[in-house]
């Protein structure tokens, strides 16, 4: 454990180089040239890590000013979001609100006004916290990430992006360029529910549900959870099991099935037992809310 005398949150008690590139290409060149360089966007996670010396980079490459990474594009089959788009921009963006209300709902519940205006979607994902608020909605949407590097770019499904708490498959020299969310033009109801100690807190449990029905039969369902496993997770077995069932049957079965796919722990915010118990309740709640919305305001996703 870090000695308490090394922590000084009035300062960043370490030195590093700081670069503010003018283009994504320049940012990639810097990352390539400098060993142990970190990308910084909003800094809401990274600056805290720097203060506590959990990371000790030689250089920071600041991408928060890159207009190439700040956009929301609604195409025919996907919505693409630049990685430096702030959470508040997501919450207010017309296309996000229209096509991805599940993500907009999570963005609205994200931290405080101050945090939402600094934090970015890319930073939230790359920090790879199990509690990342944008992760469950994006997992539910089968989002893909475009990772750029000097040698080109590759596309990784978000579900394969997280490698553990605070770990991703990003390789040296790579920057998350954008998040692509497929849109199938299928009517769906949605719900993101977060249980936290206060309204400005990380989740103890969060659940995102996307639900399409055929009459009263579950035609398609996606359930993703945060803060209940080493990474944000999709409950795929549960989803498979309840697809084709009547909604009432699905809602009765889902909680116990989901519980088998998560592995919560004790921490300063809550206990494993509480998380397990409440995850079940919140899955049920989120399914019911998604169901109501499907009939009331269902969107095409």
């Amino acid at each position: 454990m870090l000695s308490i005398n090394l922590i000084n949150t009035y300062r960043i008690p370490q030195t590093f180089e700081y670069y503010r590139p003018r283009s994504l290409r320049e940012a990639l060149e810097l990352l390539n040239a400098i060993e142990n360089a970190k990308v910084i966007a909003g800094g809401t996670d990274l600056v805290v890590d720097l203060k506590y010396r959990r990371v000790t980079p030689r250089a920071l490459v600041d991408v928060s000013g890159l207009s190439e990474l700040k956009f929301v594009k609604a195409g025919d089959s996907y919505v693409e979001i630049g990685s430096a788009t702030t959470i508040q921009e997501l919450a207010e963006n017309g296309a996000v609100r229209r096509y991805l209300p599940l993500l907009a709902e999570a963005a609205e519940l994200f931290g405080s006004w101050q945090i939402r205006n600094l934090a970015t979607i890319g930073g939230n994902l790359c920090n790879a916290s199990p509690a990342a608020d944008t992760a469950p909605p994006l997992l539910a949407h089968d989002a893909e990430l475009e990772l750029a590097s000097l040698s080109g770019s590759r596309v990784v499904p978000l579900a394969k992006f997280f490698a553990g708490p605070k770990k991703t498959v990003l390789e040296r020299g790579e920057i998350l360029r954008s998040v692509r969310v497929p849109v199938h033009r299928r009517r769906a109801g949605w719900s993101f529910i977060k249980v936290a100690r206060t309204s400005f807190d990380l989740a103890k449990v969060s659940v995102a549900v996307l639900l399409s029905l055929d009459g009263n039969t579950v035609a398609d369902v996606r359930i993703a959870l945060g803060s209940v496993a080493p990474t944000p997770v999709r409950a795929r077995t549960a989803e498979k099991h309840i697809t084709g069932a009547s909604f009432e049957e699905a809602v009765a079965l889902a909680p116990e099935l989901v519980a088998r796919e998560i592995a919560p722990i004790d921490d300063v915010r809550s206990t494993a037992r509480y998380r397990l118990e409440v995850a079940k309740t919140v899955v049920r709640d989120a399914m019911r809310r998604a169901y109501e919305r499907f009939f009331r305001v269902g969107v095409e996703v």
């Binding site: 005398n5 090394l6 000084n8 949150t9 805290v48 506590y52 405080s112 309204s199 300063v268 509480y274």
Partner: protein, 778 residues
């Protein structure tokens, strides 16, 4: 009937705070200033060997070690008389007794170089002991002694079984009262340590003036006690120290004592011969500097079948951490709150404060009253239920009200209650919340269950009384008329941000009939003010405000003398004073003689021009009573029985504060009091890991307090003021600060019981605990 009291005026510091212009300790810059950092013990209980300062010094830093500070034992809290002050602190220690205890300090020209110098210190630990974190373990046979001996006043006392202070008290024939009781409730309660979460972390800036005197700016609730503390530790005469009053970002009790940071800053400044700024980070402040006391209480109480309370017995083990910030008066105050809540015909009390290897505990809003009130109000609710009596009626029948003796701050602070708004508040508030419709917990079903609870309490208004007692409590005020008729108000009394000094300005305004806008509240220091003990004990308006009123009354008397000469009146008694809206000034006149009138501005100008001399008054005031300000909370909550999450639905907050001087600020105190109480009831808890490290190491990420979004909005928060008048208060006013939060935990806990039928004897009542109680899981 009043021109200014009860009316709304802009706060004197409102604009500068909203605009970010107010200069707090952190903002004080002195040319040539060094920045300090403290070397904190990483161990909860250890013995320091050699401290190698050479590397840090070679980097240009000034290093302060235990050998550089006077070997003086002290207690940082100076509110009690010396014979009752328990001393076990040193400025820097070679025997750290909690994680974070200061061992050394550095000062360097920049914040970064100070941090580097801190990291360059080499501190050897000769021994590291297993920390004792539990008070019952600490008192068990064979436990290592955390302190072998300490000082009480000027004499040494041995510490046995790690019990640092004890208090016993009894009254009446307890066994006889017990025999005639038909209901007896016996419960144990636990209240954990909580962090104050005041807006501003502690800090100090010190400077040696060219003439050798010391100036200090610091985040204190009491500038004069800080001056005395510095004098006691460093042996500097008090007239060579000027502690300046600067705005503070709240305190909630964490600045009643002189925070160690101030004494370390003085040491660094003296050694360096340069100004020093030493400000704690939020993490230093909340993880290592101060927390509330932790209470383990047992309450046993009885009542007759007719609903008359018979006896009350209380055991109180207080975990005070590694040093005393005056736990002894806390034991007395806790007893006082217990005694004053209900008319126990017999009572017995045993309190003890126990050392553990944790951050020293200090006062937090209410000084034991929220904790004792929660325990007693729970027991009282249970007795009423067993007797099948309405809890409101049961309380009204048994509480201590008008004519009874009230203990303002422990056994030596007693006076008779003269103003009592409890019946009025109970009637009005219970009707507003629809108390009669609250229903029985057994009848409530479904996932979301609502419940309504009541909590009644009070706080003292200061710690004054007819006899001197064990608590120091008096205040001072200087009011001075300028040559244009404007007024300077000079006081040592600190305003925590709640608007206490705006209340004083209105009191002076009312006495003189000049508008508050013509009264300047002067930022002053110990050199230019007379003694005020501290802004604590909800005494700011009742004691400090009365000192201001008396100084203003003296100024008024002198104004009338001058005006009588100017207007050719037979004597000052012939004159009347009124506020003239058009002139926006006081006007002095002879009744029935319209030509005989003169503005205060003119009086001041003429007195100056004719060499009559300045008008001013300096007052030192001791209150001979400490009246209770009663509060009554009715709270409606909703419990989600599936997640254990509790939401506040509606709050009706009733307060008997006598005359309400600033209704909107007083209502603000009740909103804030509810917020802190809600936090204690449902969330606040400082937990320690086995090695003595606080579990909330990451500060505000780990430790949460409710935000405005977690609390009821204005529409669902009703404030009711009683129509009382306190004969000893300035224009009939009493205190408010702490009574605003004291019964909140009780009301919330009783509301949760009313919703789900489960009593909790440990706070916070977290969703995890609720779920465990309901489902056995969580």
């Amino acid at each position: 009937m009043y021109d200014f009291i009860g009316k709304r005026f802009p706060r004197h510091d409102g604009f500068i705070k909203a605009a970010g212009l107010a200069e707090f300790t952190f903002d004080v810059e002195v040319p040539g200033m060094l920045y300090g950092r403290i070397f904190k013990s990483p161990y909860a209980f250890a013995k320091v060997g050699r401290i190698d300062t050479s590397l840090a010094e070679s980097m240009g830093a000034v290093v302060l070690t235990p050998d550089d500070v006077p070997d003086v034992l002290f207690n940082p809290r100076l509110v009690s008389i010396e014979e009752d002050t328990f001393k076990d602190w040193r400025v820097l220690t070679k025997t750290p007794r909690y994680v974070g205890e200061p061992i050394a300090a550095v000062a360097a020209p920049t914040e970064d170089s100070a941090q580097r110098a801190l990291e360059a210190l080499r501190v050897e630990f000769e021994e590291v002991y297993e920390p004792i974190l539990d008070p019952f373990e600490a008192t068990s046979p064979g436990a290592r002694q955390i302190h072998a001996r300490i000082m009480r006043g000027r004499r040494w006392v041995e510490v046995r079984s790690n019990v640092g202070a004890e208090l016993r008290y009894s009254e009446g024939d307890l066994e006889a009262e017990e025999r005639r009781s038909s209901v007896i409730v016996d419960r144990r309660f636990h209240v954990p340590r909580r962090y104050h979460a005041q807006l501003e972390p502690k800090g100090a800036v010190c400077k040696i003036e060219p003439d050798g005197t010391l100036t200090a700016w610091t985040t204190t609730q009491t500038i004069h006690n800080t001056k005395i503390m510095i004098s006691q530790v460093y042996g500097i005469p008090m007239n060579r120290i000027d502690v300046r009053k600067v705005p503070i970002g709240g305190g909630f009790g964490s600045g009643i004592h002189t925070n160690l940071v101030t004494l370390i800053a003085v040491g660094l400044c003296l050694k360096a011969g340069r100004p020093v700024k030493l400000v704690l980070t939020r993490e230093d402040d909340m993880v290592h500097d101060h927390v509330s006391f932790e209470f383990y209480m047992r309450i046993r109480a009885g009542a007759t079948r007719e609903g008359e309370i018979t006896f009350g017995e209380m055991e109180n083990t207080v975990d005070m951490g590694a040093h005393q910030v005056q736990a002894y008066p806390l034991l007395g105050a806790s007893l006082g709150w217990f005694v004053s809540l209900y008319k126990w015909r017999a009572l017995r009390y045993y309190g003890r404060a126990v050392y553990t290897n944790k951050v020293p505990s200090c006062a937090i809003r209410g000084y034991g009253a929220p904790e004792v009130t929660w325990a007693v109000e729970t027991v009282v609710d249970e007795m009423a239920e067993e007797l099948k009596m309405d809890p409101v009626e049961f309380r009204l029948k048994n509480y201590r009200g008008r004519g009874e003796i009230f203990w303002g701050q422990g056994p030596t602070v007693r006076s008779v209650i003269r103003s009592d708004g409890v019946p009025e508040l109970m009637a009005k508030c219970s009707e507003l919340i629809e108390w009669k419709k609250r229903g029985d917990p057994k009848s409530k079903t479904g996932r979301f269950r609502r419940g309504i609870g009541v909590g009644r309490g009070f706080h003292t208004s200061g710690a004054g009384g007819p006899l001197s007692g064990a608590v120091i409590d008096y205040s001072g005020a200087i009011v001075k008329l300028n040559e244009d008729g404007t007024v300077d108000y000079i006081t040592a009394l600190q305003d925590h941000g709640g608007g206490t000094l705006d209340a004083h300005a209105k009191i002076i305004a009312e006495e003189l009939k000049v508008p508050p806008s013509r009264i300047r509240i002067v930022w002053s220091g110990t050199a230019t003010t007379v003694y005020d003990v501290c802004t604590h004990a909800s005494r700011g308006v009742f004691v400090g405000g009365e000192a201001a009123r008396r100084a203003a009354a003296e100024v008024r008397r002198k104004i009338l003398e001058y005006a009588a000469r100017m207007l050719d009146a037979v004597n000052p008694e012939a004159l009347r004073v009124t506020y003239d809206k058009e002139l926006d000034d006081a006007v002095i006149f002879v009744e029935g003689a319209p030509e005989k009138r003169i503005s205060l501005g003119e009086v001041a100008r003429i007195a100056w021009q004719r060499n009559w001399g300045s008008i001013s008054a300096s007052v030192s005031y001791r209150a001979t009573v400490a009246p209770p300000s009663f509060t009554v909370y009715f709270v409606e909550v909703e419990v989600d029985t599936e997640t254990g999450v509790v939401r506040p639905i509606r709050v009706v907050a009733g307060a008997d504060v006598g005359t309400v001087i600033s209704p909107e600020l007083a209502a603000g105190q009740l909103h804030g009091g509810f917020a802190i109480g809600w936090s204690w009831a449902t969330g606040d808890e400082v937990v320690y890991l086995r090695d003595g490290t606080p579990a909330h190491r990451l500060s505000m990420t780990d430790y949460k307090i409710p935000t405005v979004l977690d609390l009821p909005d204005d529409e669902n928060f009703t404030v009711v003021f009683a129509s009382t008048h306190e004969p000893f208060g300035p224009f009939g006013a009493k205190g408010l600060g702490e009574s605003a939060s004291n019964p909140v935990v009780a009301a919330v806990a009783n509301a949760i019981y009313n919703a789900i039928g489960v009593r909790f004897y440990e706070i916070p009542i977290t969703p995890e605990r609720i779920l465990r109680a309901l489902k056995g899981g969580g």
